[in-house]
């Protein structure tokens, strides 16, 4: 990719625009997934530690990859703040992805609590990346309270349904100056590519890889799709030929001089 086309999140620069989730597959596969995805950011959850288990996910993640802890498990802003502070204490930087779900059936993010948590954590120096339902007013609030990126969902999490919220994500891309990272619901490389063509700054995927027949090959397919979409966006898409557009009466016939 072009060396000068960086993804910038909170003063940190990244070359890759593919953020990898780490759920639902074995630690053994993580190294290969990161390598073939070319990812520089991987999300991790914060959970109770087990005894007698000296193997930790951290040991499988190359040192040059940025850890993006998430607040999954939080049901409100207060819990998300607590989880974020625990994550920071683990000593892997200031990044935090806010995930707050009050609803266990659809696992939709709670935008209201997400704004509150973002405000608190941004004020405490975190680089806050909120996962949200794509709503322009909420996105503007997230900008105002100090988010470093906005992560709208494309479809219900884990659904692999693709860009169900396409029009609304496009509005965020057009109106919000922070990176818009499409998260949740992206199931195929072609969908990732489409989001990138629209001008998304990056893609986050997990289930699509974890449930693929061959994880490392799918990781590499996503990588290529995301790079292709980005290139297409930068190049400027060509025209769509509209057939059957009728020539109406000239509108400018009244002009003098």
């Amino acid at each position: 990719m072009e060396n000068n086309d960086k993804l910038i999140i909170g003063n940190h620069e990244f070359n890759s625009r593919f953020i990898l989730g780490s759920g639902k597959y074995s630690m053994k596969l993580i190294e290969a997934a990161i390598r073939d995805a070319g990812s520089e950011i991987i999300t991790v959850a914060v959970r109770r530690a087990n005894t007698k288990e000296h193997e930790n996910i951290i040991d499988y993640i190359p040192k040059n990859v940025t850890l993006l802890p998430n607040t999954s498990g939080a049901r409100d802003a207060k819990e998300a703040v607590r989880i974020a502070k625990l994550a920071r204490e683990l000593g892997c930087g200031n990044f935090i992805k806010i995930e707050i779900m009050k609803d266990s059936k659809y696992l939709l993010p709670d935008n209201y609590e997400t704004i509150k948590a973002t405000e608190i954590l941004a004020a405490e120096g975190f680089i806050v990346m909120p996962y949200m339902y794509p709503d322009l007013n909420v996105a503007r609030e997230l900008v105002n309270v100090g988010a470093a990126a906005v992560m709208p969902l494309a479809a219900p999490i884990g659904s692999n349904k693709g860009l169900s919220t396409k029009d609304f994500i496009q509005i965020l891309i057009d109106e919000i100056e922070l990176p818009i990272i499409v998260d949740a619901g992206i199931g195929r490389p072609s969908q990732a590519c489409e989001a990138m063509e629209m001008g998304a700054a990056a893609i986050m995927a997990n289930t699509a890889l974890a449930t693929a027949g061959n994880l490392p090959i799918m990781a590499s397919a996503f990588r290529q799709a995301i790079e292709a979409g980005r290139k297409a966006y930068l190049a400027g898409l060509g025209r769509v030929l509209i057939r059957g557009a009728s020539a109406s009466d000239p509108l400018t016939g009244f002009l003098h001089d």
Binding site: R140, D174, T252, G253, F254, L255, H256, D257
Partner: protein, 416 residues
């Protein structure tokens, strides 16, 4: 070709005339137009630097046919696309631009056209803006309506059927102070559903007061966004302070006004740059105040009393149409007002492409509505700011718009 703006009145005393000439010929005799006066509020805002930076780097001759085609194919018009649409290369795409603009207009406004009328309540002015009929050195009949006269004028206008009014004054803080204007707004609330203001820029506190008095829309013309040119045209008075004027809309929004209007007066400077700056002024403020309503006008220079030679130079109807189409494509959601400075035929045509608001029953003079509306002989009135080109009455305009297939709307507004 240049406009010759300076006109000496025979009635001016020698010392005043000398001062006028000094201002015109010696730039050193003028104040620094980039310095706020002591009574002017300074707000923290990055809008101005964002706009002026884009304008500075705008090289409109670099755009080609290819850029225009691309711009017209994009679903959303980027700043770069807009720059292309304003360029000379886009002139040969005027019909395509009009088709696209017309689609955008009907997407956002259907077939509605809003009608309003301006009411000038005073023409005293402390500024010397060389192109304006109200300028303090121009020998015209000055007048300020009493509250009774204001109410009388409003009644006549309201009786004609109009429901929205725009109150205007010359820029005189002493003759037309904020309290006088506020009282006019309160009176207007009795007769109209929607009250707008086009007065000198004021501080946030004063905008708050005027809002409480019933005004909800504030229009300020920047005239030109070219700071150097601005300096040469606004030689004296409060209006000379370029930045304070630039920030007026933002102060109005901070004070709680619902909507703000913008404009450059085309013909004063490089019209493409001024059109770009005007639209970007809206664009960046909209991002910062997404709840607000925005409107644009596109006036061209007109002859004034004592100087009938003033004209908009290189801004012909085709150029004006191009700018309005580009505005519409770039900012599909904004209201676009077309002034009575333009001819009836131009206005009839442009409402089908881009304009959404049109004035009718217009007088830019003071206290002469009775004579203009009812043919009654009024002896005492103040002179006009500029000559209008379309003098259709409210009734005639309403009927004409209906004939053009449009739906005239007198008001769709809620004061909360």
């Amino acid at each position: 070709m240049k406009n010759q703006f300076y006109v000496d009145s025979k009635t001016l005393p020698m010392n005043v005339l000398n001062k006028k000439h000094e201002l015109e010929t010696n730039p050193m005799s003028r104040s620094n137009h980039l310095e706020y006066l002591p009574d002017m509020e300074q707000i923290k805002s990055d809008i101005q630097s964002k706009v002026l930076k884009q304008v500075q780097n705008y090289n409109y001759s670099s755009y080609t046919t290819k850029n225009i085609k691309t711009a017209l194919e994009h679903e959303t018009c980027t700043i770069e696309d807009f720059k292309a649409l304003l360029s000379p290369a886009a002139e040969s795409f005027l019909e395509q631009m009009a088709q696209r603009a017309s689609q955008e207009t009907s997407k956002h406004f259907g077939n509605t056209i809003y009608l309003f009328t301006p009411l000038y309540i005073a023409n005293y002015c402390e500024n010397y803006c060389v192109y304006c009929g109200f300028n303090c050195y121009n020998d015209i009949k000055r007048m300020k309506l009493t509250y009774e006269q204001i109410e009388h004028e409003m009644k006549i206008i309201s009786d004609s059927g109009m429901e929205e009014i725009l109150i205007l004054t010359g820029e005189s803080h002493s003759k037309s102070d904020v309290k006088y204007i506020g009282t006019a707004c309160k009176l207007a609330q009795k007769y109209f559903r929607n009250v707008g203001l086009e007065i000198y820029p004021v501080n946030v506190e004063d905008y708050k007061y005027l809002h409480e008095c019933g005004a909800d829309y504030v229009t300020i013309f920047q005239e030109t966004y070219d700071s150097d040119r601005y300096e040469q045209l606004h030689l004296a008075g409060h209006k000379r302070v370029f930045l304070y004027r630039f920030e007026a809309q933002e102060r109005a929004l901070m004070a709680g006004m619902r909507g703000v209007g913008f404009s450059a007066l085309l013909g004063l400077a490089d019209f493409r740059r001024d059109a770009l700056a005007t639209a970007l002024h809206v664009y960046y403020l909209q991002k910062k105040y997404p709840h607000a309503e925005f409107s644009l006008s596109c006036p061209r220079l007109r002859p004034i009393i004592n100087n009938d030679k003033i004209n908009p130079l290189d801004v012909g109807e085709r150029q004006l149409c191009q700018i309005l189409c580009a505005y519409r494509i770039f900012l599909p959601f904004v209201g676009i007002t077309v002034s009575s400075r333009e001819s009836a035929s131009f206005r009839n045509g442009i409402v089908k492409i881009a304009a959404t608001k049109i004035s009718a029953g217009v007088s830019t003079g003071i206290g002469d509505h009775e004579s203009k509306y009812n043919g009654k002989n009024v002896e005492n009135f103040g002179d006009e700011q500029f000559e209008i080109a379309d003098n259709r009455s409210f009734k005639k305009m309403y009927d004409d718009m209906t004939k053009e297939g449009l739906q005239p709307v007198l008001n769709d507004y809620l004061y909360v």
